[in-house]
Amino acid sequence: MIVELVDPRTDPEPEGWTAFVAARQLHPVWEFDLLRIESWLARNPALLAVVRDGGTITAVATALVCRLPLTARFARPGSRSLVRPGWADIYLPWLSGFPGIEFAAGSDVDTRVAARRAVERALVRRLGPGLLGVVYRPVRPDELDIFTGRGRPIRSCMPAAVLRNEWTSVDDWLGSLSRERRKSLRRQQRDLAADRGVVTRGGPARTDLDASELATFVEAHRRRLGPLPREVRTPVSAAYLDRLVRRPDVHTLTYHDEDGRLLAVNTMLDNPVCAVKQHWAARARADGGRRHLYFDAYVRAMRYLTGAGRPLMSSGTGLEAVKQSLGFDLHVRHMVLAPRPVLGR
């Protein structure tokens, strides 16, 4: 197996990347240009690993190269090895609940383990003596065999909320919820419909949005909630969102008040396998924010999901109880740590 490590900031798109992403039906965040923008605007930029076996791509991975200490600086372009201590986080920014490594469809466990080992050896060669280890997160329970082994501790991660679409309409879905949740959602829908002060717009490939405003809004929301555990991402950038929301497979829902102020925004990544409710941000109530918008976004997402017949929808991590009340199941996710001595084994 041959591993090609690509710095998306400066290297061209690897041959076969787009075809692999399309064949595996991966989410838009795997688009090379989005990864390029994300890496340029990151403190911990991604290094992409492409594993080939006889010219065919067998696995792709995004390894965030994280340095210690975390500083308030973007990563220096062109930096090759880790002089200071650091680690590689096999992690996909802005798609929580999904792994940062994807294998070719139909490949067996042995092939996947071989690909994982090849990636680790390539990272050791590329990142040099400062590489302390590799972190895989999240890892599905059925894939643990690929990543675990002697000297590779497993830790728990926040569970991912996934909804299996078994309905043909929103009313069907509402009917499956608890009486209390169903009543509150219906009441909220009535209240919002009667509120002339909230302007709601949604749809794919939005070109009417100010990405800078969106980025500022999303970051303000994230700051208000406080830092996430093991957060290695840099705030989402305007350039990234600008490209993301213009894609035909990205649906963006916005709520504005009568003065045109943004009240809430939600991006949903459409996908034939599993739609993903991605960024959610809302104005604080103290700053003129409105109630019920979070749940309204779910009702609208379910309207799309049931109409388009998407089999699954993921809404990432956090707020487990609320998501369960909306019909989501919590899927266990793990984190596997591979310290330097066991890399490549």
Binding site: R9, T10, I37, W40, L41, R43, A72, R73, F74, R76, P77, D210, S212, A215, T216, T234, P235, S237, A238, A239
Partner: protein
């Protein structure tokens, strides 16, 4: 602008600010990494539009992204640098009151012993001026300064915009984003405060960089008037702004 030591140091300071902005400020990182820039080129092969300079409207629209990753203010002060430039064109001795019309807050960079006053529309200006014990320097738009009563120790320093470069005999040149650009010195030329501001030529006219402001970072903001040129003062040798011909 020549190659004197002070000019070389001016350029080196500017380049350090550019590299720092590229490493820490989201807007410049995005703009120069994806589009490019010149002087210096930061990403090989990418030279960008207008050498990487941006217009004032874009800068104002992206204020939040001008704050470095370490945090800071996102407020653009339209009278940034007032104190530093003013003291080059007007003697500001201890006890002087600097009254600024049209400012949201009093200038913060005045010399020690000089008081600043941001004049509000409902302030009783006549009463304050009558009670002032020392000299008063009134800074603001011409129209407002003309309404002030004549007093022996009152000096008026009008704020000029870029299309008023040919007006005198004294004043401060202001820009809505970069703040106070220059002051009209005794030689009759608009002298740039090069300790705080760097100017470079681009194909869209001059672009200004505030050298000593942590947040928001203002780097290569186009002045917006392509006729304005940068040259050296034959008497004082510092950089001056002059009205030029339209391109």
């Amino acid at each position: 602008m020549g190659t004197s030591l002070s000019t070389v140091l001016w350029q080196l300071t500017y380049r350090a600010v550019v590299r720092s902005a590229f490493a820490t400020v989201p807007f410049y990182r995005e703009h120069w990494a994806l589009d490019g820039r010149t002087d210096p080129v930061l990403v090989p092969g990418r030279t960008g539009r207008h050498g990487g300079a941006v217009d004032a409207a874009t800068v104002l629209a992206r204020r939040a992204d001008l704050v470095p990753l370490a945090g800071g203010e996102a407020v653009v002060d339209p009278l940034r640098g007032l104190g530093a430039v003013l003291r080059r064109v007007e003697p500001l001795r201890t006890g002087t009151l600097v009254a600024v019309f049209g400012a949201d807050s009093a200038p913060v960079d005045l010399p020690r012993g000089v008081r600043g006053w941001a004049v509000r529309p409902d302030d009783d200006v006549d009463a304050v001026l009558a009670q002032a014990r020392g000299p008063v320097v009134a800074v603001g738009p011409d129209k407002q300064l003309q309404l002030l009563p004549d007093r022996p120790h009152l000096r008026r320093v009008p704020l000029r915009e870029l299309d008023e470069l040919d007006r005198g005999p004294h004043g401060l040149l202001v820009h809505p984003v970069l703040g106070v650009l220059a002051g009209l010195a005794d030689c009759g030329r608009w002298h740039v405060d090069r300790t705080a501001l760097y100017l470079r030529e681009t194909d869209a006219g001059l672009a200004g960089t505030v050298l000593r402001q942590r947040s928001p970072r203002l780097v290569d903001t186009l002045l917006g008037d392509e006729r304005v040129r940068l040259s050296a003062c034959p008497r004082h040798r510092g950089p001056v702004l002059t009205p030029g011909l339209a391109r």
